[in-house]
Symmetry: C2
């Protein structure tokens, strides 16, 4: 076996901002075969390097960027990156995945992973150009919004095509759901990693690489890429996704009845078309853009052509931001939504969390539980967008009522001492734009996801097929692939979680791949053989996914997470949806959870992985570590 790591750059860049020490460490084959890359690499290191008790905004937290073996080699969808740290928003696993061109550039500079330790005394940015790593003063750009800081860095480095990860004022003000932005519009949005970056006084990381990544079997790889391209081009969703990206989900969600309208009090709205991706495509969009080497240019640039906001332009929005600044807060004005999204992006926040804190405050206001004295005179009625624009700035700069919301909905509710049951989060992370009562596998996924309420840990898209035959075939449970079914969802979510962990570690995109037609486990095994040169069967690769899910679970278990935390806000468990195609439904979570733990081989009482399961996954060391923390393993 040669020492060459095909498909990888082969090095980790480790930067200590206190000592200014810069290390380049090799990556072992053992590490590669066990964790593949990206999300797997980061969480494996985080488990030991950021032990229990570290405060997320302290110097002892570490900020990790890692990409995977399918990135930077010309494969469609292969362009992604995971950013990981302990989350200041949730206190557990902080992890967010992003596309664009940064990940490929990182590999060309020679690094599969970058780990940043400790903190700088004053604002800096990091400039990486192949072997050279510089830490540069950033006093002049600290405080600038994303777009201006981005331009300033490119100007200073005299390179208009450099790849930059950057934070905005929200992060600098330690807004707990602030994000890290890549090329202005693409955030690693969730779990507040912008604040972690700011706590280390890093305004940006700029990277440039001139290297090349070799694959193990170049000829076979060419054929593999061609087949994958054909599969993508002939995918039923190719053109809708190319034209509208994820923004097309809004109308579909309205059609099926799982919108989060007015803070999940309504699952359908009359005005869906007015705020839809379809309307954006017809009236606003001007061009499309793809991530590195992708053939599905699902990102769109829009311009507002007339009216009050004429001339405003930007990239996106994706569905989550679009629904967040429209239906979730009761706004039917698309221009205002685009303006608000643009503003929140430029200040550097996660719009999912932002939409929840605003919608939550609006529901309290609507119910008379919050008055104008408490909101600094803000009139928080549904859809009052002038106020929303004001509030976004107040949150980013932590002014008045904004300062309370800037800590996320869970802490805000505690601080205000009200609306605790209406604070829609799981484990401290705000819920995404889908009502779990109308999409039950997703709902289970929100409850158990290792980073809190989120769909990207499981994305059991196949339940939208509403085809019982698929569920019967895959899981022996017809209901598993019925959107409103219950039985079989545990198996479904466990399976998809393993697959998502794989995909996030290979660092390919889930867009269009989420129904598993493009990269099912056997294709992943084939890719690994061709790119890395390793022989694995379907079980081997799925085992890696399962291993990553189990380490993440162990990480949050060590921080105190148990089955009782695997839950959903009461509304979804108790109050049926009122109107639309999902009317009458709650989510039958306990039944699904029992099935999930069983599928996982975890202790159903505590939600803790069993010794047997950890050993089966070669995680004996993790089992030992948990025991050393006085956690009882069955």
């Amino acid at each position: 076996m040669s020492d060459k790591l095909y498909g990888y750059a082969g090095k980790v860049l480790r930067i200590n901002l206190s000592t200014q020490e810069i290390k380049k460490e090799s990556i072992s084959k053992e590490f590669v075969y066990g964790y593949l890359g990206g999300r797997g690499f980061n969480v494996r290191r985080l488990y030991y390097e950021v032990p229990k008790g570290v405060k997320p905004l302290s110097p002892k937290n570490k900020l990790m960027f890692a990409t995977g073996p399918l990135v930077g080699i010309g494969l469609p969808l292969g362009a992604r990156l995971n950013v990981t740290a302990k989350s200041p928003l949730t206190g557990i696993l902080g992890d967010s995945n992003v596309g664009g061109h940064f990940a490929a550039e990182m590999k060309y500079a020679g690094f599969d992973q970058i780990i940043i330790e400790e903190r700088s005394k004053k604002p800096i940015y990091i400039y990486i150009h192949d072997e050279d790593v510089e830490i540069i003063d950033a006093e002049g750009i600290w405080g600038l919004p994303i777009s201006k800081a981005y331009d300033a860095i490119r100007r200073e480095l005299r390179d208009w095509r450099i790849q930059v990860a950057i934070i905005g004022p929200a992060a600098e003000n330690l807004v707990l759901f602030s994000s890290i932005f890549f090329n202005v519009y693409r955030p690693a949005a969730r779990t507040g990693l912008g604040a972690v970056m700011a706590s280390k006084m890093i305004k940006a990381i700029a990277i440039r690489g001139d290297g090349y990544i070799e694959v193990a079997k170049p000829n076979e790889f060419e054929r593999f890429v061609e087949e994958m391209e054909e599969a993508i081009y002939s995918h039923e969703q190719y053109w809708p996704r190319r034209i509208m990206g994820t923004s097309r989900i809004l109308l579909a969600a309205n059609r099926l009845g799982f919108l989060p309208a007015k803070h999940f009090t309504e699952a359908v709205v009359e005005y869906a078309y007015k705020v839809s991706g379809e309307r954006l495509a017809i009236e606003y969009n001007v061009k499309n853009r793809a991530c590195f080497s992708c053939i599905l240019p699902c990102s769109r640039f829009y311009v507002i052509r007339a009216g009050k906001f004429a001339g405003i332009y930007g990239e996106g929005p994706e569905y989550e931001a679009l629904a967040g600044m429209t239906v979730r807060i009761g706004n039917d004005d698309l221009d205002y939504a685009l303006k608000a999204i643009n503003l929140a992006n430029d200040l550097g926040m996660d719009i999912i969390s932002l939409s929840e804190v605003i919608a939550w405050a609006m529901e309290l206001y609507d119910r008379g539980l919050l008055n104008k004295e408490e909101t600094n005179g803000l009139d928080l009625r549904w859809g009052n967008m002038e106020t929303v624009l004001e509030l976004i700035e107040m949150i980013a700069y932590r002014k008045g009522f904004g300062d309370i919301l800037a800590d996320g909905v869970a802490k805000a509710a505690k601080k205000l001492g009200k609306g605790l049951e209406l604070a829609f989060h799981v484990k401290g992370l705000e819920m995404i734009q889908a009502d779990p009562r109308g999409l039950k596998g997703y709902g289970l996924g929100f409850a158990v996801a290792s980073r809190g309420a989120d769909h990207l840990r499981s994305e059991p898209f196949i339940e939208l097929s509403d085809d019982p035959e698929i569920g019967r075939k895959l899981f022996g449970e017809p209901e598993a692939t019925l959107r409103l079914g219950v039985r079989g969802k545990g198996k479904l979510v466990a399976y998809y979680e393993n697959w998502c962990a794989l995909i996030d570690s290979l660092e390919v995109c889930k867009n269009i791949a989420e129904n598993m037609e493009i990269l099912p486990p056997d294709k992943i095994a084939e890719a690994l053989r061709i790119v890395i040169g390793i022989k694995m069967d379907i079980n081997d690769v799925m085992k890696i996914g399962e291993r990553i899910v189990n380490i993440e679970r162990a990480y949050i278990v060590r921080e105190g997470i148990r089955r009782t935390n695997d839950t959903l806000p009461k509304r979804f468990l108790k109050e049926p949806i009122q109107k639309g195609p999902s009317a009458g439904h709650i989510i039958e979570l306990e039944q699904m959870l029992n099935e999930y733990y069983k599928a996982r081989g975890w202790d159903p009482e505590t939600g803790i992985p069993t010794i047997e399961k950890l050993k089966e996954l070669n995680l004996d060391d993790i089992a030992k570590d948990l025991i050393s923390h006085h956690i009882k393993l069955r």
Copy 2:
């Protein structure tokens, strides 16, 4: 009640080519309320004006063009035209529907219907400019292919934007499946109406109008259009249809297993993507075009960018032509298919029928039932496209073996005295590109359609939903809306036939409307109230559709059609599909037919409408006429 006919031009233009007499007749409100326009207008007149026994290519046949009340008023989808005559291919009802800009222009010139009688002694073309109607010598352009003749007429009339209906060499040579083309690429393709036009020595009809069509309630109409636009833009299929038009059906048909590959011997192919609309969109298409006032520009222009046929460009192809020149004849080379389609268009033929006569000959050749002596040395193995190109010319110019095929597959089989059971037609019209064993409602529709094997008379698209709830709700039969279901298909097809007759008489497009989301019966009633100013309920409008279907049935019954003719080629009734998602299925036609006649209120033994049904539809005169032809009515 005022005399003004809102929504109509109000006149019929009647041209007698023997006497050169030109008449402009008024349209009565009674006629409008009974038949609406387009297909309804034409068949009602055809019934009396082209009585039993008229030879289709004799001067006594009449060629009729009619459009409808929803055309030329700015309504999306409202752009269509029916062309009707007795068919030389089938000897029964000849009728074909086409989009583009001709229909609106016709109304602006002042005419809802044009009827051409008798025959000219020498080639002519007709030039209509509002009130002025000229009959112009066409000796100089007779014989030219469509594209060249089109240019010559526009040059001669000094008008590059004039609307022209035109025939090519195939029609001039009386190929029985020759078509009438509108603006080069859009044919009224089916049932051989090109030959009827040629038999009257008409090379073209050029039309220009400066009028305006008023609607009854302009303000309400504006709102109606806006709502319809929103419904179209927010339709799930909007973007795929806009990008790929009907060409997207090929991959979907392969996915579901109802392709007509190798003359219906295979329902799925390995190479579907290679000849798909998806690939066209990615590699060939350059722009899109819409019909008059439509917001769904589903027509595409392609260019072949490299290779042997580099530089060839054209509009389309639609699914029927695409599948016809690829899978049906065993061809996996898209460039060759485009070349063949372009050639067949320019010579002026119906590619559905063309693909059947070629595929039929290829199957005979493959089975050793046809040898090179009989084919003039042509090597007719599957997918031999050089030969196909040669054969297309031979058919259009009636040379050698081409002369036999030029009469359509039914007559060709009779003439050759073989392959009768493999001649895939119904009532003399060649089958479209869908295997009825994999799409059973469509299959029943082929068997009973008034013009022979065709989907556009019923288009029961909703069975593709595969959602039993819809069938249960609409027809009390869950299987009705299962693609491979049997029970309930009779009701489904009867219902959709009535709806299609309505749509074809209003002259709106079925594209995107076929699942009835855009123009369900209640919306049609609303449109009639707003555009024509008439109050009708859902039952009233559906009754008009039913009336038109019944007149058409009476027309073909008078020509000798009975239940025994409502059938499908034996392969579909006896031999199950071998591979793919429809494997194992035949079509259970008799059971469906029984249910269909019952749903229709027709005599199940003969397939003849009952007196009661005809009276219910105010067709007492038709009943009398049938009886006068010694046809027994129950």
